[in-house]
Amino acid sequence: MHRMSRPMIALAAVASGALILTGCTADTAPSGADGGGTFVYATGDAEPDCLDPHVGGNYPQALAGSQVIESLVSRNDDGEIVPWLATDWSVSSDGLTWDFTLRDDVTFTDGTDFDADAVAANIAHLQDPDTASSTGYLAVQKIADVETVDSDQVRFHLSQPDSALLESLSQTWVGMQSPAGIERGMDENCEQPIGTGPFVVSEWAHQDHITFTRNDDYNSAPADAKNSGPVAFDSIEWRFLPDSTSRYAALQSGDVDMIDNVQPDVLASALDDGTFTVLNAPRTGASNRIELNAGKAPFDDQRVREAFATGIDIDAAIDSLFFGTVDRSFSPLSSAEPAAYSDPSAFAFDSDHAADLLDDAGWTERDADGYRTKDGTRLSLSFPVSTAQSIPAEQSLFDQIAAGARDLGIEINIELMDLSSWYEALGANEYDLVSAPYTKVGPDVLRILYHSSGIEPAPSGYFANHSQVDLPELDEALDQASASQDDAERRELYQQAQEIILSGHYVVPLYDQLNTFLISPDVTGVRAMPTLSTPSFVDASFAS
């Protein structure tokens, strides 16, 4: 027992005297003899607006939704698609007809049977404009028709071949929900979506926490899980804890059992301390990278892009600002993607060579401030940065890159903005550099990010090809990969595509999309799903 000093006792007495009026009750501590009890998870991700991951479709929804909702297929650590709610599947030789065999012994937690009709209802829900689905909508865009062959047989008819279909279906944003749950309408389904998963949503106290309670009838873990029955935890208290330092303090004080969005400074001190289990699970899809807008001057010139990509010592900056906790990436894809191809040589630091390239490109004059000019125009780059998407360490990295660029005679104007303003700047083509995360299962993310069809802004102004790469040979490789039924050929094509993107210096890869968890030493068996890197507690328990 700690001994309080006299002034402290006085202070505590005064404080509790003032607070007693609020009439709240103290929390009970988690415990359990059988490895069960209440598990407290503190997330630093945004609180979802809606727990139904079909609606909209962002990462916070996948984080929370994956505790409740399961998918037709999953992916194992080797990147192979494995059975989940579907046990088997086959595709026709033209790639347009997909047959799935479903598990016939699974029910949703409201008692509704999981069957072919349920799958059809889910695809219809995703494709219904009223759902306002964006991520899931894109994933099932090529499914033209869903045919229920039998109660456990469902057939998808596609408008075009889609080699990424299984990877897309493995995402929580395309997860299977109870048709009866969906029919309650969006408001109710957003508050409490109903799936087949290990937990059910029992309470959502907005801005505070979600309570997930155990599904005692759970029998549908993915094929690569160790446990196939109900989980050990009685419930999860899923707390929203936006401040990074408080999150770590709460883990240290034992108020929570696991935290996500561990920032580099916290990770460095946790690694030093050694008490907590570190789970590093880079998000899938794209790596974190700076995209160079090749659609307009000055980055329409390959030499200027190469000068920027090689003239600044980015490795050193990352190492110091991230306390040595991250590895530099040289790929447009996350290292969690087996198809990722790296080319470090394209980004070897050489400031002299970079200066020569800029001279070659005609940026030879210098103005009064020491920046390079050409025909009286300063070599100046605009860099809108979304504070919602770039963590503080990354914002500092961009500042250091700007300082390095200054030595090359390049001016970089970094503008910090909130997400809506950032979308607006992108839509107005008012950027030369940009960093945008993109999470998706599988290398098909390359098609979304670098196919020329992604340059055309939607009426909203949103488009995904921020580098504005427009190369027929790249489009062709991506289209072929999308249509290919052959895994080896597909892999080869995606490598070609990455070689083109890297050697053209359309992007400067930085590191994987950071996704680090810290877990109490009292907990075992937590893993990150090899699909969207969301935490799974199917095999987890408190150590006895």
């Binding site: 609020t22 709240c24 964006s134 801005q207 330092t245 240290q252 919602a388």
Partner: protein
């Protein structure tokens, strides 16, 4: 204010007129607040429809956007949207939150209670800290005055985020006495309350010290000492009462300071409340929710100012005469 020619008004009449003036003034302030919030929210760049569907990592389809624009009336001209907005507010309809998809009225009640609990706890603790500090620093010794003054200045200038971190490191991770997050229990309220209360205590103590010193030097204190009152009685009963008046006035101001401090404190301690919601609502371009939070906060502030004014009039009737 009253002209010389006007007939003298009865006391009830004057109170009535004062209340009416205050009420009308309050309504004008609220309408102006709602107007400023609406245009400020629409002048900052960014499409609310993107924000409604968006969030980091979400890829919005054109169909979904068109849908949302129509549903929320974002296609209408700005003037029309503004008039709709005011008309709705005037009938007490706070609308539906874009981001939470719930009636704002349902959302805001618990948040208001949570923030008020925090603000009033902080005020109570601030007073509890300020009074002993004032009495200590006016004991007459130079050292006490210096130490007191130093403490007040330091406390008053501490930034919330720093104070919060120090309190968490000391009492949560260090000593393990108090939770670093506000989980709904009384214990969870202690650190957020202290974070908000300590700077306010600094302000209060400083103001009260000056007037306490004035009071101690004034004839009525001398008179009570002459009547044989002990030092403690003089300080606690006579002088402190006098010195507390500016503190009471400052308390009304402090309420505004506490609500703005709640933005930081509620985020750090993960406590639901108006401040934290305001930040996320602004980022979400959630016009109905931002409007409601700002208007409700303004209404609370107006109300507290009226109460403080009334209290000051009761305590010191000379104010009324001067008016």
């Amino acid at each position: 204010m009253t002209s010389i020619a006007a007939p003298p008004l009865s006391r009830a009449h004057r109170i009535g007129r004062w209340a009416l003036q205050r009420l009308v003034g309050g309504v004008v302030v609220l309408a102006a607040t709602a107007t400023i919030v609406f245009f400020a929210m629409r002048l900052i760049p960014g499409d609310p429809a993107e924000a409604i569907l968006g969030g980091p990592g979400s890829q919005t389809s054109a169909e979904a956007l068109a849908r949302v624009r129509a549903e929320y009336g974002l296609d209408d001209p700005l003037g029309v949207q503004y008039l709709h907005h005011l008309a709705r507010l005037a009938t007490g309809d706070l609308g539906t939150s874009y981001s939470l998809r719930m009636p704002v009225a349902d959302v805001i009640g618990p948040l208001l209670v949570s923030t008020l609990v925090l603000a009033f706890s902080a005020l109570a603790v601030a007073w509890a800290l300020a009074v002993p500090l004032t009495l200590f620093s006016t004991r007459g010794s130079r050292v006490a005055a210096l130490v007191g003054n130093g403490l007040e200045l330091t406390a008053a200038s501490l930034p919330h985020f720093w104070l919060a971190s120090i309190l968490i490191v000391t009492f949560s991770t260090g000593l393990g006495w108090l939770p670093p997050i506000s989980t709904g229990g009384v214990l969870g309220l202690v650190l957020p309350t202290l974070t908000l209360a300590i700077p306010v205590a600094g302000f209060l103590a400083q103001v009260m010290r000056d007037s306490l010193l004035d009071a101690l030097a004034s004839p009525f204190v001398l008179a009570s000492r002459a009547r044989g009152a002990g030092d403690a009685r003089v300080r606690f009963v006579h002088a402190l009462r006098h010195a507390a008046l500016p503190g009471v006035n400052l308390t009304a101001w402090a309420f505004g300071y506490l609500v703005s401090g709640a933005v930081v404190v509620e985020t750090i301690f993960a406590r639901p409340g108006l401040g934290r919601s305001l930040v996320s609502a602004v980022l979400d371009r959630d016009v109905p929710l931002v409007t409601a939070i700002v208007v409700v906060t303004a209404a609370a502030y107006v109300l507290i100012m009226i109460v403080a004014d009334a209290a000051a009039r009761i305590a010191d009737p000379r104010i009324e005469e001067r008016a």
